[in-house]
């Protein structure tokens, strides 16, 4: 079981060159839960995630992990508590699955220290958890998109952090692999208590899998809370500029958003509820 960590964002302002992407944002990421961040393209979702894992320095405000500013923590110490799987990680040519997952052990190793039994155990556990043990000696280049994504998650698991941030972990995956990855993250959250924060494109999957939903609009917070309260027709209109109808998902009992475009809408008009 993991220890609980609080991750907070205080009046955070982040930007690139002459553009402010996030403007004095306040957030509290609930410990031990799954949080999904949604929002329109270029609204600052990835920027927020990169800034929380200190890949981007803030222009103003703080990111606090257990009350300590992440941008001032030693790199490896932070990486033992907080992990991030970026959107497009690069696999070195020809590397085997086991070696790639082993790279996740970096924050636990000192300069020149030898690989030890704990490292092997962590790698094996990560492979088992992601059902990639049978791929251990294969080259990452040969894997399918779904397998590869599971291997990247295995690398993040080998890092053994109590908080895991993921930037669109389901992109480029077909629907069955999307569900597989989200189920895997849910297992991780339930079995180990890992705090998970992920950026997701798919609103409905976000509402289904997240305990806490954060909707960003124009670099600021639009709404945050239980998905049933956050994912409303008004919210979809405000965040995406899209008309929709939101019903109860018959499978999960969570909200399900059905978009309303200019075509393929039944006359005499959309019915709500």
């Amino acid at each position: 079981m993991t220890t609980e960590h609080t991750l907070e964002v205080e009046t955070l302002t982040v930007g690139y060159a002459d553009r402010v992407v996030i403007d004095s944002l306040d957030l509290l990421l609930p410990p031990g839960r799954i949080t999904a961040i949604v929002g329109a393209n270029a609204c600052g979702k990835s920027t927020l995630l990169r800034s929380m894992s200190r890949l981007l320095a803030p222009r103003g405000g703080h990111v606090l992990l257990d009350g300590r500013e992440v941008h001032r923590m030693p790199a490896k110490e932070l990486a033992r508590t907080l992990g991030l799987l970026p959107q497009s990680p690069i696999a070195p040519e020809g590397i085997t699955v086991a070696d790639l997952v082993g790279r996740g052990r970096n924050p636990h190793q000192r300069i020149l220290s030898r690989w030890n039994a704990d490292d092997d155990k962590a790698v094996a556990a990560a492979l088992d958890a992601t059902h990639t043990a049978s791929l251990a000696d294969r080259s990452v280049d040969e894997l399918s998109g779904g397998q590869r994504q599971r291997v990247w998650i295995a690398m993040a698991l080998a890092q053994q952090t109590d908080v895991l941030l993921l930037d669109e972990p389901t992109t480029f995956l077909d629907v069955s692999h999307q569900i597989e990855v989200l189920d895997l993250l849910t297992d991780l959250n339930r079995n180990r208590g890992t705090t998970i924060v992920m950026v997701l494109h798919d609103l409905n999957l976000a509402a289904r899998y997240a305990d806490h939903l954060i909707a960003l609009a124009d670099g600021g917070l639009h709404a945050a809370g239980d998905p049933a309260e956050v994912l409303t027709e008004d919210c979809v209109r405000a965040v995406f500029g899209l008309d929709s109808t939101v019903i109860i998902d018959p499978v999960s009992g969570k909200p399900l958003m059905l978009p309303i475009g200019r075509h393929h809408v039944r006359e005499p008009g959309p019915t709500v509820g």
Partner: protein
């Protein structure tokens, strides 16, 4: 976690480690062998016994001069410049995630070569001055290439193309300086154009040895950070790697190695470029390539110099031989890049 998975993971790691050690051991044996042969073979053949006695400091008629004063400095210089080129080259290739981003392709070796030629011919500087001049020029050009290719981060392709352009400019500068040299003899000219070990002396070997002793360990200690950079900046940073620090240390140390080696022998073509990919094929993916590449670099220089001296009727400078070996691989990489739609 199941015990079978743990066993499989341990077994795989042990197997890859064993392969790495076997390859490193084999390469080292090969380097020692070719080093020994190059001390024995020449216009006069000396037996291993005679060579050994010279190495121990005994006076052996004939051998003491030929082996001790001519062949030994040459072989030592080949050995250590090979180590420098190999380790410096693979550092750049790993850091920039691109096999084309080797210092001899992107103009850093050219900068050291041009500066060294200028320092000797125009400024009449001594060994230390030449080395200092070469390293300052090489660092300056490295920074220049980096700045010129910086636009929302450094893209590999842009850096390589800019580097190739800079290399061409610097090579023409070297040609111009050599042209001004007047009585400068042909052998020295080939040194600054192709790289050569002809007329190697202990005076040339000492600065390279010092550079190797200083920068080599710095890079080897950084080896793991460097392999983390292969995962992309974001992933490497998320795994606790300090990007800017790793890059700064790597650039300074790798440029130092390349510049000192180049100021002693001239830019021996393609050794820095070839050593990393050859080492990668041999040890397999996953681990750090610094040490294997260093040994491969050494083997390449020793072997190429041996071939250049004895395989043909005419003696060729070492750089001509490595150039002939390296060019096909460069063409292969460029063709493959082109097929992949221009993304490196």
């Amino acid at each position: 976690m199941s015990t079978t998975t743990l066993e499989a993971v341990t077994r795989g790691r042990v197997r890859r480690g064993r392969r790495r050690r076997a390859v490193l051991g084999g390469l080292t044996v090969a380097v020692v062998a070719i080093f020994a042969v190059s001390l024995m073979v020449g216009q006069t053949f000396y037996t291993p016994d005679e060579v050994f006695r010279v190495l121990l400091g005994e006076t052996v008629p004939g051998a003491s001069f030929t082996v001790g004063e001519l062949r030994l400095p040459r072989a030592v210089l080949a050995l250590i410049t090979g180590l420098c080129f190999g380790i410096g080259g693979v550092t750049f290739q790993t850091m920039l995630r691109n096999p084309l981003a080797s210092p001899d392709i992107i103009g850093i070796s050219s900068a050291a070569g041009a500066a060294a030629a200028f320092a000797i011919i125009v400024l009449n500087l001594g060994e230390a001055g030449v080395s200092a001049f070469a390293i300052v020029a090489a660092l300056g050009v490295a920074v220049l290439i980096y700045l010129l290719s910086f636009k929302d981060g450094v893209a590999g392709t842009r850096l390589v193309l800019i580097g190739i352009g800079i290399a061409a400019m610097l090579n023409s500068a070297t040609s111009y300086v050599l042209d001004q040299a007047g009585q400068w003899d042909l052998q020295a000219a080939t040194r600054w154009l192709n790289g050569s070990l002809n007329g190697s002396t202990w005076d040339e070997a000492v600065p390279v040895l010092v550079a190797l002793a200083v920068f080599g360990p710095i890079l080897l200690v950084q080896a793991r950070n460097l392999t983390m950079l292969q995962l992309g900046d974001d992933t490497a940073a998320a795994l606790g790697t300090r990007l800017e620090r790793t890059r700064l240390i790597s650039i300074v140390a790798a440029v130092g190695l390349i510049a000192f080696a180049t100021s002693a022998t001239g830019p021996i073509a393609f050794v820095a470029f070839l050593a990393g990919p050859i080492a990668a094929r041999m040890v397999g993916p996953g681990g750090s390539l610094l040490l294997p590449s260093a040994v491969v670099g050494s083997l390449l220089v020793l072997l190429a110099d041996f071939i250049g001296q004895f395989a043909f009727d005419t003696r060729f400078p070492v750089g001509v031989v490595t150039g002939v070996l390296g060019a096909p691989y460069l063409i292969f990489l460029l063709v493959r890049t082109n097929r992949a739609g221009g993304s490196l």
